[in-house]
Chain length 513, copies 2
């Protein structure tokens, strides 16, 4: 079986992932350790993700701002629990000048900063310092802010989109008068993420609460949406944190209540990042490359003119341009249809396969015969093949144009249904002991040879402290982690798989990115 | 005369500027030296600037990408002229970890990077390193790339929006097969900037070429658009550079020509930044605060309900919401009308003045009498007063809604006309010697006491090298600089004002930001 990628998911999933990132022109490594270059097609996907999510963040009452890239060291020292959790792997600016000494450009030893500046790994502390000034009275609350920014965490093992030293994200930060309102906000944004992942990325997720040991450093509670990749592993796609008054106390974010008392605010934070692009690839990609949900496809329809350096080429090109004009005038669920006529000086077969690998939802090929018959011949990227054979469909130009937005909606729905079916079919809930779990997952040798296992959903007694650490250690020996306790609980639980004590909730356990 | 700001332009222009930035809720200083916090209203303006400019950058064939925040030190060392020009004031990352030692959080001395990383002051070098891989053949050209990013230059004296250590910008980077095509690109983007400034920001500019001494470090030629602020000073609003093969040679960006030879690419770069927001403030602001051109006003119409804690409040609020719904359904030159009903728990007079200071183009006040009569009472921010008196106009609700997009277009045009008139009336072109210039501008004591002088347009012989340095020094003694040689030249020139030699072109001389 020949496919458009040099390696299949079955053969080697991690290598397949890198092949898609490369062959779909999404991103590449750079000369800077752990930092990636996002290429036009990958950036186009991120722009659409940004636009659609930004709209939802604004619709829920948040306003965008921008805060400094740098955080003074003393700010991080203020919230000890926070900085402990970040493992302190951060980029630190210590000097503000270069100098040529003995003909060599170097850091000027005389230009050392009085206080080192950390490149933000997240902005709770610097934004908290601002909130402290902005919030005076209960009338200033709730304060609902978001920013789109780059952040840096000095990761040791990096992988394009999934874990990079610099990545792009949005981070929401809000301050509220009381715990109930802050918790509502935390869950509201989790739900925004859930809907966004499912509706826009066509990526089904399970929303739930992280166990104590997986909380954001300094949070009272952390929630996540978790998606299942095609190798069965979990990807944390977004998180939402209720921070209690921890950060408010460290940074003195206080307000005067309506009866004149001073009280600390309850704060939240929540974010998703360029990691979502990695999730889209591992959810929808196949052995021919990427398959993009139309909602985030920079070009939803790509028209490839079949040119032969002959006089009839002009008529083919005209026909393509007319078709393009007709298509862009159609408005579907994802706005006006995004169309490209690919006129690059390449063979049309090469162009076809470039767009297959890049995952354009509809690829139209126009030759002289189509022009003569007033037809279009097209491929649906979500159903590219029947066995090995590529499926090409023909339709009258008028029918194709009239039906294009319905077709795109159908592709969006079919990608979601496929992923949803995979998620639902691969959460085992019949394991009742840790031995069962160990036997099911088996020892993890290395990720290349891991076979598809999916997730398990088990009851537990929700231990804390040392007892939770023990659970964590036992799972870690199998390379497993607790993903979250789904919000949607059955209500009656078997005994805890770890201790045999009465269960109090169900959790998802899986290998993860 | 009472105005909404505590200081007028006449009294103290720099203080007035800071008052507008503060009282219009645009931005504020942060705890990090030289870095600003952009507040929601200021960010809203920047978002609209980004959206509109991004559209124009894409329409001219460019694609967005994203490149790393960090630049390895050796990359900067490659292009000596480039790094010389940047005065080397940059933020340098030297370590990648913090550590708590003796209870104090500090930079871990054991986590020093092998090679220091510079936070990008501009990205020619890191993007060039990528272009070198992307460009192989003439078929890969032209390569037309843009990125929206944050950059850092360790400026000593900072001023919100105008000069900050961290700022936001777009930087275009392109590679071409030959000089002519690269020069076309350089001038094409200059023209995009000119049109953008005039059409969107309502800020008239003069496009021209910078003299040799003001070129971007490493450029063969640099062009700029220059705007006149209300204190008569020039603001460089955008630049476009033809880089020749300098960067291509330093970074080995070569391509195979159609006849199989290897040749260096000709590259360009061009950018505008958050500085534009400062330009908008100093072009359109008045002693009551900011005046925003409708094209970049986050809210073009603000409706203030006049509430009195009485039963008729409900009818007033309903009326406001109906009006809002009717207005947002109108599409003008700047898209659907952007409307806010300000329901904050403040006195309506305070709300009115908040929006005056923020520069919302149309402020509508709705009281019970308007509801009863089916009318609206509104203020045009571009024509707020007649003498000291605030001008309020009344119109039927139907007429106001039907005419709103025309009214917004009129406000946009009137702000542009006012600024254009100021620019044209304040470029003196009758000075024929350096003594004339010195006498006209007089000694500059400090900027607070500088009076309005505008610009002068004079002929010169376009000296180079040491002769140009001499001219630069003489102008510097008067705090003057050459802004640019306008593209639009008269064709016949008097003698050079600096040397008396035959003139070859006209240049603009001014004090500048």
């Amino acid at each position: 079986m020949t496919r458009a990628l040099p390696v299949t998911r079955e053969e080697n999933f991690p290598e397949w992932y890198l092949a898609v990132v490369r062959d779909a022109d999404m991103a590449e490594t750079s000369a800077v350790r752990g930092c990636m270059v996002i290429k036009p097609w990958g950036w186009g996907v991120w722009e659409l993700i940004q636009g659609e999510l930004d709209r939802r963040i604004k619709e829920t009452g948040h306003e965008n701002c921008y805060f400094p890239l740098f955080i003074p060291l003393r700010f991080l020292a203020k919230e000890a629990q926070h900085v402990e959790g970040f493992a302190k792997e951060m980029a630190v600016v210590t000097h503000h000048r270069l100098k040529t000494i003995d003909g060599v450009l170097q850091v000027d030893p005389e230009a050392e900063l009085e206080e080192p500046l950390v490149v933000r790994p997240t902005s709770e502390t610097i934004i908290g310092d601002t909130f402290q000034r902005w919030v005076q009275s209960y009338r200033d609350l709730p304060l609902l802010i978001n920013q789109w920014a780059n952040v840096v965490r000095w990761e040791m093992r990096t992988r394009l989109f999934l874990r990079t030293a610099e990545f792009l994200w949005q981070e929401g930060h809000t301050a509220h008068a009381d715990a109930a309102e802050a918790m509502d906000e935390t869950l509201r944004m989790l739900e925004v993420y859930r809907q966004f992942c499912e509706t826009v990325l066509a990526m089904p997720v399970v929303a739930g609460e992280k166990p104590e040991n997986e909380r954001f450093p300094g949070a009272v509670s952390t929630y996540s949406v978790e998606a299942m990749m095609q190798d069965g592993k979990a990807l944390q796609a977004g998180t939402s944190h209720y921070l209690g008054t921890h950060f408010a106390e460290a940074q003195n974010i206080r307000y005067q209540t309506s009866d004149g008392q001073l009280a600390f605010c309850h704060t939240t934070s929540w974010g998703v990042s360029t990691r979502l692009v990695g999730g889209v690839i591992m959810t929808h990609g196949d052995d021919d490359g990427l398959r993009l949900p139309p909602a985030i496809a920079p070009r939803q329809v790509v028209i490839v003119p079949m040119l032969r350096d002959k006089p009839e080429d002009a008529a083919v090109l005209d026909y393509c341009e007319e078709l393009r004009a007709e298509l862009v005038a159609r408005h579907g669920a994802f706005g006006p249809v995004r169309v490209l006529v690919d006129k690059k000086p390449l063979k049309s077969a090469d162009k076809r396969w470039n767009w297959v690998r890049r995952g354009a939802p509809l690829i139209v090929e126009v030759g002289p015969r189509d022009v003569a018959g007033g037809n279009v011949t097209y491929m649906r990227r979500d159903r590219l093949r029947n066995g090995d054979k590529v499926i090409s469909q023909s339709s009258s130009r008028g029918d194709f144009v009239a039906g294009v937005t319905a077709l795109l909606a159908e592709i969006q729905a079919s990608l979601f249904a496929e992923a949803k079916q995979r998620l639902e079919a691969n959460i085992r809930s019949d394991l009742t002991s840790f031995d069962d779990i160990a036997a099911y997952f088996g020892p993890s040798t290395d990720e290349e040879s891991d076979v598809f296992k999916g997730w398990v959903r088990v009851a537990w007694c929700k231990p804390t402290g040392a007892a939770l650490e023990q659970v964590e250690e036992r799972l870690k020996s199998l390379k497993l982690t607790i993903r979250n306790a789904p919000l949607d609980q059955s209500g009656s639980f078997g005994p805890c798989v770890f201790t045999g004590a009465p269960g109090v909730e169900e959790i998802l356990v899986a290998r993860a990115y």
